[in-house]
Structures are given as structure tokens and as C-alpha cells.
Point group: C2
Chain length 346, copies 2
DNA sequence: ACTGTCGTGGGTAACGTTGCCCAAATGTTT
DNA sequence: AAACATTTGGGCAACGTTACCCACGACAGT
């Protein structure tokens, strides 16, 4: 039964004393800065190991770096985001940076609070995934802290962006469905309740891509969009509305797998079969879509790659805040599975 | 085109000057400490608002509190954890605390690194979900930082625990299957590669609960456990092994929904129907299980409640580090759905 | 009038780290 | 041999906040 004594934390001063050098020396070794001899490095490293010293991020933060990167995800329950996160962390594996996730940011207000809290904690940089804040606010944030924005189709001089080509992704789905013989193809989009900087958001671009592709195929008269959210609930009610139409669509393209999931439920509940009576496609190619009982046709936007690129850009921007901004656009691919097929005859 | 000037951060000194009071006064108002008159509070609050002041967590951390709580999750892709997290954040909604998530902790080494990084960042407290570290290490951590452990069936004087009664949960599944007429009920368990403090882990307790329930029904001869991991892959290969048995089980109880998902795939791939040829049950009652196309019978362990309890205990422990430790055990319930039914005749 | 007590406010020294500067010793060029 | 460059190490002052003290005036009870 060891007594849980409250030890005072080992500091750089303890290490310096133990290694018989100055605190400056220890600090230099820690940051492998200029002006350290091999023998000194040796002594210091040994002292660090013997005392089990760990630098205080708080004290470092007060002076500058914290070696902490923040990632904001809009919805932790959406299975697409873990994949992006995985890309981020695996890119940072061999660095000194620690990634921390800020969860639960529903709405512009909560998002601003979350971003502020990351700034307050002196993080070295942040990755914002599909933020809903107005453009001007993002610019302001990026002026304060190194920032990479994922998903938004924006171009700024002070932040970098990584996004999927949502126009192309939506076109892949429409092209696929048209080539199967569909004409009445409907879309379930995500609509923010607070309308700010709409046209930059990935969901809006997907809807626009759908419309353009439909027009390209001469199907402008068949364009049919219902506005919900990218959630199971949104997909469910959206699909139900579509199924109640006098001329029911023969295919539903949901802007996200999680919405497609809800749509599939609505279709099943209506007693219709997939893809016999109606085809359903999603977006994101989440693990759920690959599940063989579901086998959802979906657009793959390479979440891991997005995450890795975002991490890389963030490190570059931390190293040089004034460097030219970069915009990376990744090309999506279509993964055809069992939920899409030819429309019913007649 | 606003020029992105690098503003110096607004500090407590600026606020003090602007409000014509001392920094001490501002600090007191911020923490609503003793010794502030209403008029002073008024002045300070106005100055804070006018300057847009935000306290630096780094500086606060150096002195004591950071108002930051850390949550470690073992696997961000497992859909059960978002639910727990949701419970945590909703309980903390109206407090000054910010929750940060530390992702990706596969294995004991990565876990230790993650915990250390939270301690380095002077977090006020941490919630560890199903940690795999040895008992002694957890005690040591809890001696350094306020700690609540979720999932482990442990009892300590210095950390609190919240767990589901996994023995009872496993029994619910076995009882249900037996009442349907099953006898050959197999179990897919999760086995850590690094074997430390095995018997405390929820997965091991579930397996033990399965064994006890089988014995209670006089089915000790039918006990059949395959060891994998709580992943889709683990469930898939585990189920395949079970299906290849000369005397194939009539029911499979996977220790987690995500493993049950893999098991369902293996069953489908073997050309068997659920629940006609074989029944499948899971654990956690994740959103996936509720999906009507899957309709997985599963044990609900009230993730939101677990998270809320953990948050509450953590705040209590932060307020009083010496208080008696608490152990909360929640009773699971069984949600019967479509993947379980009577065994095939003969 | 004299001692306490209370309410109100401020001064100051940390907390642990790092960037800037300077000093001494050593090596290199003219 | 003198002048200069380079390497090696340390002193010191921040960074922004808070806990601990002390000072002052007002007011109550002797």
C-alpha cells in the first residue's frame, strides 16, 4: 500500500542542479538549440532520465510554444471524422506535437467558443473541420493562430485549406445513376440553420454539383432537392418526403453516408426494396457503407489523406506564418456497391 | 481587405488599467473570489467586455487551474464512445471547464504517453475510458492528477470509477438466448496483446459473466470462447472460426456491437440467415444496432449516463482531492431486436 | 475615546520556461 | 604575436496569472 504522497513536480531547475549545469543549458538541450556540446547533452539527457523530468506545457505556453495542436470536429458521431483524425495523428506520430480534439460544436456560437478556448490554451495551431463560422471570423482566427481549414471551398492569404472536389464527387454519383438509366434522381442536402457564408460549405457545393450534373445530362426538369441535415434523422425524414411525391424518384443521392443510412430506413419502412424499387447513394464511404449487409454505393473522399495533408500544411504554417497559403483539392472516387442498380421498368 | 495585424494579446494588466483598478481586483472578479464590491465587479466586467479580454490558460496553468479536463478514449471509431463523451460534455455545459479529447491510444505505451501529455498540460482532471495500464500505474497517475476511470472494475482510495455491471449484462444475453431454447451459445471476447491487470477490464468481466451464466444454466459443457479484439475484423474472424466448428453454435454473443457487426458479416458470407440459422447478440447498444436493417439485439449500458456520472465525480474530486472515493455501477438492460430468435429445429 | 472586526482594495512574489545578451575559452587568420 | 571568429556555457528578465499578505477606512461594542 504505497502512500500517495503529493510530489512536487520535477522542474528544469532540478535537472540543472542534478546535471551540474545551468537551466539555460537544459533548455537548450531540450529544444536542441545552438550552443550545446555533446558532453553537456549527454549529462543533461541522463539527468532527465534519472529524474523523470517532463517539461511543463503551461510554462512553455507562457513563453511561446506548447507543442499542442487542436482539431475541431463538428460531429463526433459521424463516422467519417475518425478517419480524417487518423490521418492527422499518423502524420504527427514522430513529432513532438500532441493532438487534442475539441468535441461537440453544434452551431456558430458553440464553434466560436471552442475555437476561443483553443486559442486561450496557446495551442501552436488548429485544424478546423467544416467550420460554419462566417468567412471574416475565420480570417480573424487565422490572424491569431496558425490555422488549416478542412472542407470549406475558400481561398485566403492567411490560412490553408484542404478539401475534396465536391462538385466532381456529386457528378460521379449522378453520372453513375444516369448511366444505369435513372432520370428522376433526388438529392438530400444539409442546410445550416444559421445562414452564413453558405456557398463555401462542402454540403452546399455537393448540392450545386448535383444540380450542374443534372443540367449537363439535360435533366434540369428532374432536379429535386430536400433540405435537412447530415444526420440519420435528416436522411430519414428527407427520404420520406421524397417517397411521398406523386412521381416518386427512382434514385436518392444523400450528401453523406449517415444521411443515406436514414434514407435506407425510410425506404425499407415504406416497403420498398433497394435497389429494385429505388437506388440510394451516399457520400464519404464510411465504414458503415462497406458493411456487407448495407453495401452502400458511396463517394470516397480519402479521409486519411485529407487529415495527413492538413497536418502537413499546419506544420509548414507553424514553421513560417508568412508563407504563401496553399489550397489542396483531392479528387474523389466512386465506390459502386449494392444499393444502386437500374430503375424499375416502366 | 483587412490587414492581419498581429495584435498583442489583451492581458489582465490592460483590463486593470482600463477599469482603473488593480490586477488583483480583476483576478478576484474573474474567479468571483472574496473581497469584491458590486461596483468594482461592474467596472471590471465592463472593461473585460470592451477589451474582449480572455484569460490565458497557460498562465493560469502555471499558477494552478487551467479549467481544462481531458478525456482519453481507446478507440475513436467505436460508436459507443461518442455517447459517453456526450454525457460528459452535456454535464459540463454550464461550467467554465473545457473538455479536450486525446485520441488514438492503442496499447499500454501509447496510453502512458497520452496520459503524460495531459498531465504536462496541467489539466485539472482526466477521465480515462477503459484504460489498459497496470493498476499501479493508474494509482500513480491518480496521485498526480484528479482521475476518474470508466469501465475498469477496480476499487481505489484515490480514484473514482464508473462502470457498467458487465457480469449482469452478459447474464442478460445468456438468459435471453437460453429462454429462446439455445444451448450452444458461443462468446467472442476481446483480449489485450499486453497482458496486464486482466481481470479488471470490462471485456474480461463480460467473458466471465458469460461463463458464470452458462454454468448457472447447467451449460458448462457448451462454454465456447474465442479471443479476438472488439473490432469489426475481430468479430469477423472470430465468427468464422466458430462457424467452422464441427458442432456449430446456434448463437453468438459478441462482447461489443462493433464485433457483432463483423460477426454478422461472417454469418452472411457463410450463407446462413439470422436469426433463422443462427442468433447474434452484441453489447453497447450503439446507433448501429438500432439501424433497422441490422436490428441487433444488444445490451444497453447507458453511455450518456456513464459520461455524466464520470464528469460529476471528476468535479467533486477536483473540489476535494482527499474525499472518499466512489464507485458507481450502472445496471445494464437488454434490448431485444431482430438478430435473436429460437434456434433451428433439430 | 479605545480597541476589535469587517469590508474593501492593492502590492508583491512566485509558478517553469525560454530568448536575448554577455563572458570566457578555444581556434584561426594575418 | 596580435587581431579576430567561433564555440561553449550562464545570468537574467520577461511571459500572465493568482495566493498570500498588508493597509486603510467604517463601524460596533466597551
Amino acid at each position: 500500500m504505497t502512500r500517495p504522497v503529493q510530489h512536487r513536480r520535477v522542474t528544469i531547475v532540478d535537472v540543472a542542479r542534478h546535471a551540474q549545469v545551468s537551466t539555460t543549458a537544459v533548455s537548450k538541450v531540450l529544444r536542441n538549440a545552438y550552443g550545446t556540446s555533446p558532453s553537456m547533452r549527454e549529462k543533461v539527457h541522463q539527468a532527465i532520465a534519472e529524474l523523470g523530468y517532463r517539461p511543463s506545457a503551461a510554462a512553455r505556453g507562457l513563453r511561446g510554444q506548447t507543442y499542442t495542436l487542436g482539431v475541431m470536429v463538428p460531429d463526433i458521431a459521424n463516422p467519417f471524422f475518425p478517419e480524417v483524425l487518423d490521418g492527422v495523428t499518423s502524420w504527427l506520430r514522430d513529432t513532438d506535437y500532441q493532438v487534442l480534439l475539441a468535441p461537440g460544436c453544434a452551431g456558430e456560437l458553440a464553434e466560436a467558443k471552442t475555437i476561443d478556448s483553443m486559442i486561450d490554451r496557446s495551442m501552436d495551431g488548429i485544424i478546423l473541420i467544416a467550420p460554419v463560422s462566417p468567412r471574416a471570423h475565420l480570417e480573424h482566427v487565422a490572424g491569431t493562430i496558425a490555422t488549416v481549414i478542412v472542407g470549406r471551398h475558400a481561398r485566403s492569404t492567411i490560412f490553408d485549406t484542404v478539401a475534396d472536389d465536391d462538385i466532381a464527387g456529386a457528378a460521379l454519383v449522378v453520372d453513375h445513376l444516369v448511366s444505369l438509366g435513372h432520370r428522376r434522381i433526388a438529392h438530400i442536402e444539409h442546410l445550416e440553420t444559421e445562414p452564413s457564408c453558405i456557398e463555401e460549405m462542402p454540403n452546399m457545393v455537393r448540392a450545386e454539383g448535383y444540380r450542374r450534373a443534372m443540367r449537363r445530362h439535360g435533366l434540369q426538369a428532374e432536379i429535386d432537392v430536400v433540405s435537412r441535415t447530415y444526420t440519420r434523422e435528416g436522411g430519414f425524414t428527407g427520404a420520406r418526403e421524397l417517397l411521398d411525391r406523386p412521381r416518386r424518384p427512382t434514385a436518392i443521392f444523400a450528401g453523406a453516408d449517415i444521411a443515406a443510412m436514414g434514407a435506407l430506413e425510410a425506404v425499407a419502412q415504406a416497403g420498398l426494396s433497394v435497389p429494385g424499387d429505388i437506388s440510394v447513394a451516399g457520400y464519404d464511404n464510411t465504414p458503415f457503407a462497406t458493411f456487407s449487409q448495407v453495401s452502400l454505393t458511396s463517394v470516397d473522399q480519402a479521409g486519411r489523406q485529407i487529415g495527413a495533408d492538413a497536418a502537413r500544411l499546419l506544420l509548414e504554417r507553424i514553421a513560417d506564418r508568412a508563407r504563401r497559403s496553399a489550397q489542396i483539392t483531392l479528387s474523389p472516387t466512386l465506390v459502386v456497391r449494392g444499393t444502386t442498380g437500374p430503375p424499375p421498368a416502366g
